[in-house]
């Protein structure tokens, strides 16, 4: 099994969510995140004092999938999240040892 983590522009979340649901993905976890890569933050001015805000608001989306589905799901996310401009985010996968569905106790692929 794999955990797919995607850092997205917040306004692309709905597009990615719809694309994943169309691709048959039934569950995901979304959280608000902030950070920066090549895209830098912005400046704000309060009473003449300038503050540089390095961290840009982003959304972190996490999906658990079977090994065989991982590549295609990553493709779906990348396609839906892309705007072509700087700051579109990143997607990566990590191996997962075990998954358990809390309610039923099902394990492994059955729990996804």
């Amino acid at each position: 099994m794999k955990l797919i983590t995607a850092i997205l522009k917040p306004f692309k979340l709905d597009d990615v969510k719809d694309a994943l649901q169309a691709a048959g993905i039934t569950g995901m976890t979304v959280s608000e995140a902030s950070g920066f890569g090549r895209q830098r933050g912005h400046t704000e001015v309060y009473r003449g004092a300038e503050y540089t805000v390095d961290l840009v608001p982003k959304v972190r989306l996490e999906v658990l999938v079977d090994d065989k589905d991982a590549n295609s799901v990553v493709d779906v996310i990348v396609k839906a999240a892309s705007t072509g401009s700087i700051g579109d985010g990143k997607v990566w996968t990590t191996p997962v040892d075990q998954v358990v569905r809390v309610r039923t106790g099902e394990k492994g692929s059955d729990a996804i």
Binding site: E44, V45, Y46, R47, G48, A49, Y51, V53
Partner: protein, 434 residues
């Protein structure tokens, strides 16, 4: 002698004005509270709240006596003694003439001014003052600075027949300050500068982010200040009359002009008109029109406000040039705005709008009035700055004025008050009685 009859209309307006002026201090707490970081909001607000407590009590015991008593017949203070205000129940207000309102209503109205003045200072020392030290400072500063200065400026003496006793020094010199440009704003601004110097800069000043944590709170505070200020200025006529009406409209239009002036500077300098700029501009206009509101025509009030917005928006950057951490710009807004407003009377003063007023430079009155205004500005600023340096230094050397490094970094709300303004995580337990 003609029998004086209590005037219900005047008394009703003064009671309402008094409540309006009280509201300014919680408004100030919101205005200042929104501008600090999440870890020190409550401390910022508590500095205002405890000031309401301390000054109100002192006022009854001896504060009103020092400011508005007449027993001493001195230009410097009204009287020294425990008044308790108990014997004043059936008296009329007498301040250079008898007003048909109860003396206790006058005492309550003036109390609200005595409260907000020290509260204004707290913005200069945000995030880092020991709460107990602040409380002691408020008591000493009110006693040695505000109460006497209020006498210099606002006490027009006790009139019996044709004799007037106990006129304040600046009032006797003809300094015009209708609602407190000198006694309130210059006084608080100069004291704020002194305390910012005594306490030193916040840890991380100009390195860490110290962005205002809640601009909606700032806006709410500014709205309450603006609303309350109608009582502050129009109430200072001590009557529901034409002068109150003049002060009222001048308060409105000067503030409006100042909002525009501040936003214009921001737009030209930084490219964006900000909400903090609008709120700050409003306060700078309110400050500037305070001394002038009953002495100038409404068109002049617009000009005074507009210039105040421009001046103060530029003045708030001075602290970076000179390197003092006047955290919430008590100097840039109250000292600079107060000085401008007080001097503006020397330019725009018009006896045509107020028979007790004088003509300023633009109305053919020459520089006489301006010289008086300069005296008022200079005397109050110098006394407040020096006295506050001494009081602040004495507190710093005895009990210490500033919290420890640990408290300041972890957050003064948590360490000084054992509270947090906002629940960031729900990891607390308990609720049983102590």
């Amino acid at each position: 002698m003609e029998e004086i009859v209590l005037n219900g209309g005047d008394t009703a307006w003064m009671l309402a004005s008094t409540a309006l002026v009280l509201l300014m201090t919680p408004g100030l707490a919101l205005f200042y509270g929104g501008m600090v970081r999440t870890k020190s909001v409550l401390n910022m607000m508590m500095m205002s709240m405890v000031t309401i407590g301390i000054v109100s009590v002192l006022w009854v015991i001896y504060g009103f006596e020092i400011a508005f008593g007449h027993k001493a017949d001195s230009p410097w203070y009204g009287g020294i003694g425990l008044s308790g205000l108990g014997s004043s129940v059936n008296e009329f207000a007498n301040n250079g003439g008898i007003y048909p309102i109860p003396l206790l209503v006058f005492a309550a109205f003036q109390l609200m001014f005595a409260i907000i003045t020290p509260a204004l200072i707290s913005g200069a020392i945000a995030d880092r003052a020991k709460f107990s030290a602040w409380a002691i400072f408020v008591a000493i500063w009110s006693t040695l600075v505000y109460f006497p200065v209020a006498h210099w400026v606002f006490a027009f003496g006790n009139k019996v027949g044709d004799t007037v006793t106990g006129v304040g020094y600046l009032a006797s010199k003809g300094v015009q300050d209708f609602a407190g440009g000198t006694a309130v704003h210059i006084n608080a601004g100069a004291a704020g500068l002194a305390l910012a110097i005594i306490l030193g800069k916040r840890i991380g000043w100009r390195k860490e982010s110290m962005r205002p944590h809640s601009l909606p709170l700032v806006m709410l505070g500014a709205a309450l200040l603006w609303f309350g200020w109608f009582g502050f200025n129009a109430g200072s006529s001590l009557a529901a009359n034409g002068i109150a009406g003049l002060a009222f409209i001048n308060t409105q239009v000067a503030t409006a002009g100042a909002v525009l002036g501040w936003l214009l500077v921001e737009k030209l300098r930084n490219g964006h008109a900000t909400s903090l700029g609008a709120a700050s501009g409003a306060v700078s206009g309110l400050v500037a029109i305070t001394p002038a509101c009953a002495f100038v025509a409404p068109w002049a009030a617009v000009v005074i406000g507009f210039i105040a917005g421009i001046l103060c928006s530029l003045a708030v950057s001075l602290k970076y040039k000179f390197g003092f951490d006047d955290s919430l710009d008590v100097v840039g807004v109250h000292l600079v705005g107060g000085i401008w407003g007080s001097l503006s009377i020397g330019l725009f003063g018009a006896s045509a709008v107020n028979s007790i007023g004088l003509d300023g430079i633009f109305y053919g009155g020459g520089t006489d009035l301006m010289v008086k205004q300069l005296l008022g500005v200079g005397v109050v600023a110098a006394y407040s700055f020096i006295a506050t340096l001494i009081i602040g230094f004495a507190i710093e050397k005895t009990i210490g004025f500033r919290v420890t490094r640990e408290v300041e970094i972890e957050g003064i709300d948590l360490k000084e008050h054992a509270e947090s303004a906002y629940e960031m995580t729900s990891s607390s337990r308990g609720g049983g009685s102590l």
